[in-house]
């Protein structure tokens, strides 16, 4: 497979930045634009770039889990945080917030909505991984032939 040096180097650079951006969006989403879904989409786009680069297997290999694990974890987190409030006697999807004083950072506000958002984030990432893996199964390495040529 002919690989483009420019594309590969750009993706390596962009991937890390995009993952940091997606984490920022996940946490910023409580009061600003962003949130679990948008953050997950950014992370998904970054992973899709790695897929285009041809080393999706490396990504999945490094984190050592099946692509559906984040899907299950995310669904459990999101559904769990929406129902656990019922056990304490309030409405489903109700949320709580608490401020902690973390040394060196200052006051950090932790909300259960962030846990819910983290669940959504995991679901989106898991879904992207599953879709890409399904595509990857279909693609055979095109060792010979010009780019864009259809193998017969």
């Amino acid at each position: 497979m002919r690989r483009s040096l420019i594309f590969d180097s750009t993706v390596r650079l962009v991937f890390d930045l995009a993952m940091v951006l997606s984490a920022y969006m996940l946490f910023a989403g409580h009061n600003q634009p962003g949130g679990g879904f948008v953050g997950g989409l950014v992370a998904g786009a970054a992973i899709a770039l790695r897929f285009l680069m041809g080393d999706l297997r490396d990504v999945i290999g490094v984190v050592r889990f099946k692509p559906w694990t984040p899907l299950a974890v995310g669904l459990a987190l999101a559904a769990g945080t929406s129902i656990w409030t019922v056990a304490t006697g309030s409405e489903p999807l109700d949320h709580g917030a608490r401020e902690f004083d973390v040394w060196g950072i200052g006051a950090v506000k932790v909300t259960t909505a962030t846990v819910f958002d983290a669940g959504v984030y995991c679901i989106v990432v898991g879904l992207v991984l599953m879709i890409l893996e399904a595509f990857a199964d279909e693609i055979e390495p095109a060792d010979d032939g010009e780019p864009g040529e259809v193998r017969r």
């Binding site: 899907l71 299950a72 974890v73 459990a76 559904a79 129902i83 409405e91 489903p92």
Partner: protein, 501 residues
């Protein structure tokens, strides 16, 4: 106890999460799915008793008050239909586990995704029944559709994907229209809470009001497969594994009917409801559906056309917009969900045992499979409306309501269609159960997998006995539906419960 209302939506999602994580252990997946559905059936039965006793219960999700936040509303209509749906989903799940022992592409045993998807479908169905908010109704439909796209094509066969495509395209069109309708509603009134919409839509100009009503009828009419929007149904359902077809045929179209009943009554004031339009559509749906059914020669396709025909009866009850009419529509919907699902399940067992669903190649099952013959005959006669079965109860309520309202034409049409229904049911009966096995059938493999068929047969028998129970408890059920219908024809209690006035 309001906690129980959100449970049918969230518990299946938690179950799905666990089921995905346990993908490699099929027995554990089965245990989770059966556990979740059994729990929900029990809690929903409790909710039904409570709602019937204490009146409509609304839960404001996240503690945000009604027109701003999202409301989950349990009234008699939604809980009765939710309970029916959960019983059906439960029976079909057990059936699917039994069928899993057969080597069929896309069946429960062959694919890790079956149980998670089935649970997500359950969550979507519950959400559609419980939400009191038009936008979340859209979300519920999407949850249901996502799961159903995957379930329809789980086997990955070419014909499944082809008919799956029809289903996806038609559902996308319906969803787009729904979203457009939502945008219009929101632009005109500034709210999507159905209780809040009742007064706000009444204040709109008449032309705008009726366009919104008709747009919503078109959207839900596609889901419910009413005339002339039914064309997609007979092509997309019959190719999936039987259990899936049974759920889709029995349940998903009826959710379209439920949303039609819900939106047309709660959102619109009595003077602005499109009664005549619905009655005309109802009559046409009955006739076209049954004529399509008479022309078919294959069990699942014949039953698929019947779905269309029977939807007409429910729309007729709604179109009358009287307490008796809507009550009839509710009884008929409950009866249809159970009866239609059982018929598809019996059709599946026939295909499993005889190796084909083509009537020309079947025959003599009444002698070889007497139990199966009984399991087919009861829902088939019920579908045609023979007393004392559940279909008779539903049709009697509808005809009675129609005569009260002097809607003689549609009542006449519904009676003629009943006769044609009976004719097409006897066609299956004569083709599959009487006579002798035709030429070419003898080389097919004989019945196999006795444990599997035993599970399938008992799940079907359980569902059939529920339909018989409906006929036995017709009196209390009719009273319950009348109370439910009274809250719909004059939705003041619903609005008070949701908006907390």
């Amino acid at each position: 106890m309001n906690a129980l209302i959100g449970l049918p939506i969230i518990l299946p999602l938690l179950g799905a999460a666990a089921s995905i994580a346990l993908g490699a252990h099929r027995p554990l997946q089965r245990l989770i799915s059966i556990g979740v559905l059994a729990t929900l059936t029990a809690t929903t039965a409790v909710t039904l008793v409570r709602v019937d006793r204490n009146g409509i219960t609304a839960v404001q999700v996240g503690g945000w008050e009604a027109p701003t936040g999202i409301s989950l509303v349990a009234d008699r209509l939604s809980v009765v239909l939710l309970l029916t749906a959960l019983v059906t989903l439960f029976a079909v799940l057990v059936y699917a586990v039994g069928q899993g022992s057969f080597d069929q592409p896309g069946s429960e045993a062959r694919h890790v995704g079956f149980h998670p998807l089935y649970l997500i479908l359950t969550a979507g169905v519950s959400f559609a029944f419980l939400t009191g908010d038009l936008f979340n109704l859209f979300v519920a439909f999407e949850v249901m559709l996502m799961a159903s796209y995957a379930l329809l094509t789980l086997g990955g066969r070419a014909d499944q994907v082809r008919s799956g495509m029809t289903y996806v395209v038609i559902s996308l069109i319906a969803s787009t229209l729904f979203l457009a309708a939502l945008a219009y509603v929101y632009a005109a009134t500034g709210t999507v809470n159905m209780a809040d919409l009742h007064d706000k839509i009444a204040a709109l100009p008449a032309g705008l009001r009726s366009s919104l009503a008709v747009l919503l009828i078109v959207v839900f009419g596609i889901k419910a497969a009413i005339f002339p929007l039914f064309f997609w149904l007979p092509d997309s359902y019959p190719t999936a594994p039987t259990a899936i077809t049974a759920v889709f045929a029995g349940l998903l179209t009826k959710i379209g009917v439920y949303t039609m009943i819900r939106t047309q009554t709660v959102m619109f004031t009595p003077a602005t409801r499109p009664g005549t339009l619905l009655l005309v559509v109802a009559g046409a749906t009955m006739v076209v559906g049954v004529l399509g059914a008479v022309a078919q020669n294959e069990i699942k396709r014949l039953l698929s056309f019947h779905i269309v025909s029977q939807i007409g009866y429910m729309v007729m009850g709604l179109g009358l917009f009287t307490v008796a009419g809507v009550a009839g529509a509710i009884i008929f919907t409950v009866h249809q969900i159970l009866v239609k699902t059982s018929l598809f399940l019996v059709g599946g067992i026939i295909e499993e045992k005889a190796g084909t669903g083509r009537l020309a190649r079947l025959g003599g099952l009444a002698r070889t499979e007497p139990l199966l013959a009984v399991l087919f005959l009861l829902p088939a006669l019920s579908l045609a409306g023979i007393p004392p079965l559940s279909g008779f109860v539903g049709k009697l309520a509808l005809v009675d309501a129609g005569l009260d309202d002097r809607a003689y034409v549609v009542v006449g049409v519904s009676l003629v269609v009943s006769l044609l229904t009976l004719y097409s049911m006897t066609k299956i009966w004569a083709g599959a159960f009487w006579g002798t096995r035709s030429e070419g059938a003898s080389d097919l493999p004989p019945a196999k997998g006795t444990t599997g068929t035993a599970i399938m047969t008992s799940a079907t028998a359980a569902l059939v006995s529920v339909t018989v129970a409906i006929a036995v408890f017709a009196g209390p059920l009719h009273e319950l539906s009348t109370r439910a219908a009274a809250d719909l024809v004059d939705p003041t209690p619903y609005i008070e419960a949701v908006l907390g006035r």
